[in-house]
Symmetry: C2
Subunit: 232 residues, 2 copies
DNA sequence: CGTCAGGTTGACGTCTATCAACTACGGTGG
DNA sequence: CCACCGTAGTTGATAGACGTCAACCTGACG
């Protein structure tokens, strides 16, 4: 029911929430009229410190949300998939950057409008509250990964979480709309370690790697065991 | 203005929010009537999976919020100080454990009551939304630490964040109401690494360590540089 | 066919975990 | 009063996991 990033034992998409299940009802009408915006890969929706004018909903593609340090180190906080909302944080400025990982379409709503509605519509306000509390749960799960899990465990947890995105739970074929660099910066690993770990999982017969962007999950049980530290 | 855990460049307490600045006005009246509950060190308020019956406000002491893996690895998500709220997540069950790090007092409010009020009071609902979005920002900052920063950088960022708790900004004497083990599990380090890093900071003349629970910040500029990766 | 971004693999280095010994402190009880 | 014990913290030696540097491969695209 929740929307955690790296919680393989639970049943949640990796960030934000599935529109059909959790979208604030009070937002539906607003979205229908909103114009579609198209982004090329690597194009930004907004960057940290920008005035927080809109909230966005991903229609197609995928968005990475990330923070970056002065020396270039980057931490991806999550990936937003179609149906996910972006920019819910209640503050004057965006607190992170949002960038398309591939060709992406999204809709935007003026925050001022949402805020006005919410001031007279407790239902809507509570929906915002619920939506963001799902994001918090996702952040907490990712925190458990980056803080405590080994590289193998992190990648296993990541693949499990990804296998549960996009509706059908525990899909055999998982599509990864992001690069190895993105995965690395999400999990707190380097490109090389991510690549090596994928290879190890393939050698163990747990996954298949037809193309690098498409993973076949062959043994989901093993993946779950690994993610929970069943064996190091 | 925000409440981030490890964002030394910004000015926020480590988790939750300062009551006098951010507490939902609609909650004030509720709290005044609530009974005080006293907890010994290591006593739990609730554990993961418990029915989410109350939200709590810390009055004295400190609470650690943590997740734990089957094999005992623990990730502390944050520390709640006096004025901070606990258990805001919008779901049926608590998603983490809450445990006193020392003798602590807190007040609790039945969630059902808050929820009922919020359904008719958009102001209150929006306050909940704002409160939890601050927690999300805190989680994101911690994520940047555990995912990207070195041990030295993490401890520097942690000390900076702690120096900004408790009202007076950039206090020279910082009190740490948690053990080295707690700090380690918060930052994704071991006790030994935390201890060694404190020693290194002392040898560098950046902090003073009279007692292990009380840190004197001697050179806050150096701490900031370290936290942002100024020099590795 | 050349170029470039993305991905894989190998050799090596290093940061931090692990294992272990030791100190300091506080409480408890003889 | 002091011996004893448990918890917390520090420090040292060692090992291992992951990062770094580098070569190479692949596929897309002009």
């Amino acid at each position: 029911m929740l929307t955690n990033a790296l919680s393989p034992a639970q049943s949640m998409p990796a960030r934000g929430f599935r529109a059909e299940e959790f979208e604030p009802h009070g937002l539906d009408e607003h979205w229908s009229g909103a114009p579609v915006r198209r982004l090329e890969a690597k194009e930004h929706i907004f960057t940290e410190g920008d005035q927080r004018t809109h909230i966005y909903r991903v229609e197609k593609g995928a968005i990475s949300l990330y923070k970056i340090m002065p020396d270039g180190r980057r931490q991806i906080l999550g990936f937003a998939y179609p149906g996910d909302l972006i920019g819910l944080g209640a503050c004057e400025e965006y607190k992170f950057n949002a960038q398309a990982t591939k060709l992406t379409e999204l809709k935007g709503l003026r925050w001022a409008a949402i805020q006005n509605s919410a001031r007279h519509d407790p239902e809507l306000a509570l929906k915002l509250y619920e939506a963001i509390s799902l994001e918090l749960a996702a952040a907490h799960d990712l925190l458990l990964s980056t803080g405590q899990r080994s590289a193998l465990e992190r990648v296993a947890a990541f693949l499990l979480a990804m296998s549960r995105r996009g509706g059908g739970r525990d899909r055999v074929v998982v599509n990864l709309p992001m690069t190895r660099a993105d995965i690395g910066d999400f999990l707190g690993l380097t490109i090389e370690t991510v690549s090596r770990t994928f290879t190890k999982l393939r050698q163990l017969g747990i996954i298949g790697l037809a193309q690098s962007a498409s993973v076949h999950v062959l043994d989901i049980g093993a993946l779950q065991e690994l993610a929970e530290g069943g064996r190091a």
